[in-house]
Amino acid sequence: MTGIQEIVPVEVGNLIGKVEEFRDGDYRLVQINCSKIGDVYEINYSFDRDYVFRNLRITVTADTEIPSISGMYWGAFIYENEMHDLFGIQVKGMNIDFKGHLFTTAVKFPFSIASSTLTKDEKP
Amino acid sequence: MAYFEMTKTAIKTLLSTPATILYPAQPAKKTALSRGHVTIDESRCISCGTCQRKCPSQAIVVSREAKTWQIDRLRCVVCNSCVDTCPVKCLFMDTQYSSPVIARSVELIAITYVKPVKPEKKDEASA
């Protein structure tokens, strides 16, 4: 229906190199998505050019530090801050770092693995 | 230089009827399909609990032993899901909006369905 959707898994170390390839190929950043699958987090970087949709995927644990791509895409700060505020993922080197204050919620890091084992009245 | 382009529209709306309705003094606009509130025909409900399972906001509670059906009108989002999935079609969507209340309460309805007694099959088979 909406054409090809390609998902390529990469290592955390190769992430910046692959994103630079997309930047030189004139792709625009569509979104950065984080999903909690069991004990690990899967992070998807989506790019698009002329309606061709391509993704990079990295799999990290809660204490991995991932590099920020805001050096190449200035607008990535909003996704990386949201990922940090909701999931607790450490991102190194963001161009605009809100230090946890972009998204104010009653429970800190509500979607992280640590919060999902809380019962209704417990606080972290 | 174009100024006062709005004059034509302003005079036209000044001379025509207002577009607003003085609700609730005048009744609200309704169509045949409007979703107002959910009503039940209590003589047909079989207390299967399908409406309770399918409700996305958990507004309906069905009690099989006490034979009651209750709905919290403030939780109901009038999505029509219960009306569509009821197996005996005893729920209907009325076009009138529910009236405002000042305290949170549930509406409790007693179910008056009586299961019809099936005729004895043994006499027919032997006869």
């Binding site: 229906m1 959707q5 309606y51 949709f53 996704y79 979607f111 | 302003a10 169509t31 989002v77 569509d84």
Partner: protein, 359 residues
Amino acid sequence: MTKQIIVPFGPQHPVLPEPIHLDLVLEDERVVDAIPSIGYIHRGFEKLVEKREYPEYVYIAERTCGICSFIHGATYCQGIEQIMNLEVPERAQYLRVIWSEYSRMHSHLLWMGLFADSFGFENLFMNAFRIRERILDVMEQTTGGRVIQGSCKIGGVRRDISNEKLDEMHRDLDSIEREIRDLTTVFLQDDSIKHRLRNVGRLSKEDAYHLGASGPTARGSGVAIDLRKTGYGAYGNLNFQLVTDSCGDCYGRCAVRAKELFTSIDLIRQAIQKIPDGPVDIKVTGVPNGEFFARAEQPRGELVHYIKGNGTKFLVRSRIRTPTLTNIPPLVRMLQGCELADVPVIVLSIDPCISCTER
């Protein structure tokens, strides 16, 4: 050496439809920087998807936002149908297009009303809403709800529109088009409005592309991206032209939205003429197992629904990325260097729908 002061903008502001907070760093009435802050309306939709079965989640997905609600429901259904390889009947796809375009028209008219209010033209605001009432009446007559339609389900649509009703809608479009033409003439020709909008909030074409702007925010700067051209649903069988403007200021974005109203009317007329007869839904059995990115064009830009299922009735992940989230970095860039009195006009020109952004 000028002193810098910080002025808070929002979350309560008469011009904002939904709460967002901006800290404006000012030097003598000129904005130097803007720091956004969201979270006032976070409802935890992405957690709720793990507690509701996947057919019931349609009702929740379409209540993400009140202005663009139909397209959220339709995109979620599209994602699940692609994962489960369901073939939606043709008539249902055309009906979804017709409702989507009516939804786009009412959203643009609501935006035009709020925009007129932001620079003080209340008569125009009320007039835009008067025309919007006619479109909401059509939505209520065909689906039962003015704002939340509730007519999409997995495998098709829940309700059909009879052919007589479709002919009546086709005839009514003529008078609606005349009224919209009078309204857009005021927006685009009146000089007092041009004084407020020209050269305010400039965004260049390279900035719009690389910062990730989408929808009329991008098209107002000359970037020609419209997801309807990928041909999802029945859009593959309909012809339309993209509307772009090369100025990149608030006037350009307003002009793009005003001209898109006429594109939508044309699409509805084409869809009503081409709609085939047939069933409007199919029976759905089974559970979704797999993942898919469903993309659609909302009135505000590009909507992405990421859905992942693992073979049970409850989905593992549903992520909604709305166009307003991706339009916030261009907004921060646009606000740098503007005057304080222009801030409400610029914030409203990206069409902020914060309840979608925070889900």
